[in-house]
């Protein structure tokens, strides 16, 4: 109870988003850089503890600060700064305002101590990130629409779960849960949608590459990482997460190995990396959770770096397909160098941030004697060479140039952002203690033993050898690989169209049937009551008198007989 909402780092980013709307030129650039930096400073000023408030009878905890929140808060603020620095030349105010709101949402989730506060920030993130996708241009409208649908579906699952959890337990506080009720399964499902888990993982590779060259940097940082952060808070040690994570990790590698578009390739690599973290949450030991926290922090930076590299290539060449790009190292040396650093980090090569973080998760699986999980984690660790770890930099920068492109490295701000991110990847790799002191549990892990180093280098070197030997099979081909989104983009559309046809035909038949009946009724009425009908026509007076006489006679006859 020693802090106030005014000093929330999320508020600083919201203020930045507001300021961005009223500034231009140098002032706009200053806002873009200053407010994320202010948020980064404020992260360190939020004291450990919580701020509580009552709203509609619920005890809310808008801010709950601890070591884990500090780590994620700092990394998100730093990533927001790198992103805005990289996007300093971006003219779309809508995209950049949304990016700051999106980052504010992520920080809001990090500090949320209750499910209701979390949900509000969660939806802020969903809306802001959808706008960022939309800012990718006309081609992004379809992916943005699908992205919004999936994330609102995830939001509905989460909200339903939260409502059920509050109704059953009477508390909205975020604590470690076991999925032992339908409400908790719904919360878990809502979180898994955002982390990129099956069956909805295709939103990552559908929406992210549709965004602008700068938009994907922000997108790659926040949604999936906040989801894994909340998983760490709420569902550590839930075994099903181990297998969900491993499926994600393998899927990401397989699809990235087949991918031709560099930004889609990175999207698959993101899902693969997220899978390793989700598996780590499932293992759930202090070492594993430390590994997940460290790997998330490292991945935010090296993924952002690789996405910046892809954005630079897109901005400078206008292309993203590997079959149209290669040999760019001569034209874009700094971008190529940044890509190599990012590649080494994502492949967890010693002296990079990936090595000092990913190895903790693998070690945790080994220590728990989870043989299956350990084997698969080692395999996907080697498999990083099939996506951004080797295939991407090799094909993009070091192949023979396909055509002479008069391009150069991107503008200064983008170069500085990439250089900073690359330096961070290496510094964290060389001095991991700076990261380890921020981890949620005490760290007794020593990454730099001769055995660890040798095992990792052997693993990667021999995996690289296989890639080299099989390079002809790994050449980029035009096309896409059908994914689970086929279910709602094709099958769902067919079913909807079929249903539409059936209801359309049914309606037509019903209407024509009713029309026919109405017409027959009309004819009938016309026949009897129309101008020439029996009841409608004018009868002569004589006929009437005749029938009256006849009826009276008949009446008298019957009366007489009775």
């Amino acid at each position: 109870m020693t802090t106030s909402l005014f000093f929330s780092p999320a508020t600083a980013l919201l203020a930045g988003a507001l300021a961005l709307l009223f500034t231009t030129g140098i002032a706009r650039k200053a806002v873009l850089l200053a407010f994320p930096l202010l948020a980064l400073v404020l992260v360190w000023q939020v004291p450990t503890g919580s701020v509580t408030a009552n709203y509609l009878g619920y005890a809310l905890i808008p801010i709950r600060a601890d070591d884990l929140a500090l780590l994620f808060g700092a990394v998100f603020a730093l990533a927001a700064f790198l992103g805005t620095l990289y996007a300093l030349d971006r003219s779309s105010t809508l995209e950049l305002t949304s990016a700051l709101v999106y980052a504010a949402g992520a920080l809001g989730v990090v500090y949320a101590g209750d499910w209701i506060t979390l949900f509000v920030w969660w939806e802020v993130m969903a809306i802001a990130s959808t706008i960022i996708v939309v800012c990718g241009g006309e081609k992004a409208h379809g992916p943005a629409f699908r992205y919004a649908l999936i994330h609102f579906l995830g939001g509905v699952l989460l909200m339903a779960g939260i409502a059920g959890e509050i109704a059953m337990s009477g508390s909205a506080t975020i604590t470690s849960l076991k999925p032992d009720s339908w409400a908790r399964w719904l919360i878990l499902a809502g979180l898994l949608v955002n982390v990129g888990a099956p069956p909805f993982w295709a939103w990552v590779s559908d929406a992210y590459p549709a965004s602008s060259w700068s938009g994907m940097v922000f997108l790659s940082v926040f949604t999936t990482k906040t989801a894994v952060y909340v998983l760490m808070r709420a569902f550590p040690g839930v075994e099903v997460l181990v297998w969900v994570g491993l499926v994600m990790a393998i899927y990401g590698i397989v699809y990235a190995a087949l991918e031709n578009d560099i930004r889609r390739l990175l999207a698959f690599a993101i899902v693969s990396q997220m899978g390793i973290k989700v598996a780590g949450v499932g293992i759930g030991t202090p070492l594993a959770l430390n590994g997940v926290a460290a790997h998330s922090a490292a991945a935010v930076i090296y993924t952002a770096l690789l996405v910046m590299v892809a954005g630079s290539v897109l901005r400078q060449t206008g292309k993203t397909r590997l079959n149209e790009l290669s040999g760019l190292a001569d034209a874009m040396p700094l971008t190529a160098f940044a890509c190599m650093i990012g590649a080494l980090a994502i492949a967890a090569f010693p002296l990079t941030s990936g090595f000092v973080s990913k190895s903790m998760i693998i070690e945790a699986a080994a220590k728990e004697h989870l043989a299956g999980a350990w084997i698969l984690l080692m395999a996907v660790s080697a498999g990083a060479v099939l996506h951004a770890g080797l295939r991407l930099p090799w094909l993009l920068f070091f192949g023979a140039p396909k055509e002479r492109l008069h391009v150069s490295d991107p503008p200064q701000a983008m170069r500085i952002a990439m250089a900073l991110a690359a330096v961070l990847c290496v510094v964290v790799g060389i001095v991991p203690d700076g990261l380890y002191v921020l981890l949620p549990h005490p760290v007794a892990y020593v990454p730099y033993t001769a055995s660890h180093i040798l095992v990792q280098i052997q693993l990667l070197a021999f995996a690289a050898l296989v890639v080299y030997l099989m390079r002809d099979w790994l050449q980029p081909q035009r096309g896409i690989t059908l994914d689970l989104d086929w279910l709602y983009r094709r099958l769902g559309a067919w079913i909807a169209r079929g249903f539409d046809d059936i209801t359309d035909r049914g309606w037509t038949r019903l209407v024509s049937n009713l029309n026919g009946k109405a017409a027959r009724l009309h004819e009938l009425l016309l026949a009897y009551h129309g101008p020439t009908g029996t009841f409608g026509r004018t009868w002569p007076t004589g006929t009437m008198a005749f029938w009256t006489t006849f009826l009276l006679g008949a009446f008298l006859l019957i009366a007489a007989m009775g």
């Binding site: 190995a257 190292a329 052997q458 995996a463 296989v466 099979w473 896409i480």
Partner: protein
């Protein structure tokens, strides 16, 4: 336009050179032989054996490539598949 800069060798051409290939093989051999000098304390038995990470890295990468090729042979589709 095709690249006409014949005199500027790319890194790939350099790496594809025979000498560098020999050097690569030498590095791989040294990496495996280093297992003789470094003690591994495995958790499952097999992970502490000579050259484990080397063959495991190669084998798992090979398996993942085969899986990718199998998936690709079934699920690859033209770029405009969803355009309509």
């Amino acid at each position: 336009m095709r690249d006409t800069r014949k005199t500027s060798p790319t890194l790939m051409k350099t790496l594809a050179g025979k000498d560098l290939r020999k050097l690569g093989l030498l590095v791989l051999a040294v990496l495996v032989l280093l297992d003789l000098a470094v003690a591994h304390h495995g958790y499952f038995g097999i992970d502490g054996t000579f050259g484990f990470a080397a063959w495991f890295g190669a084998l798992s990468c090979f398996a993942l490539i085969l899986l990718a090729l199998a998936v690709g042979s079934i699920l690859r589709a033209p770029e405009g598949t969803y355009d309509d």
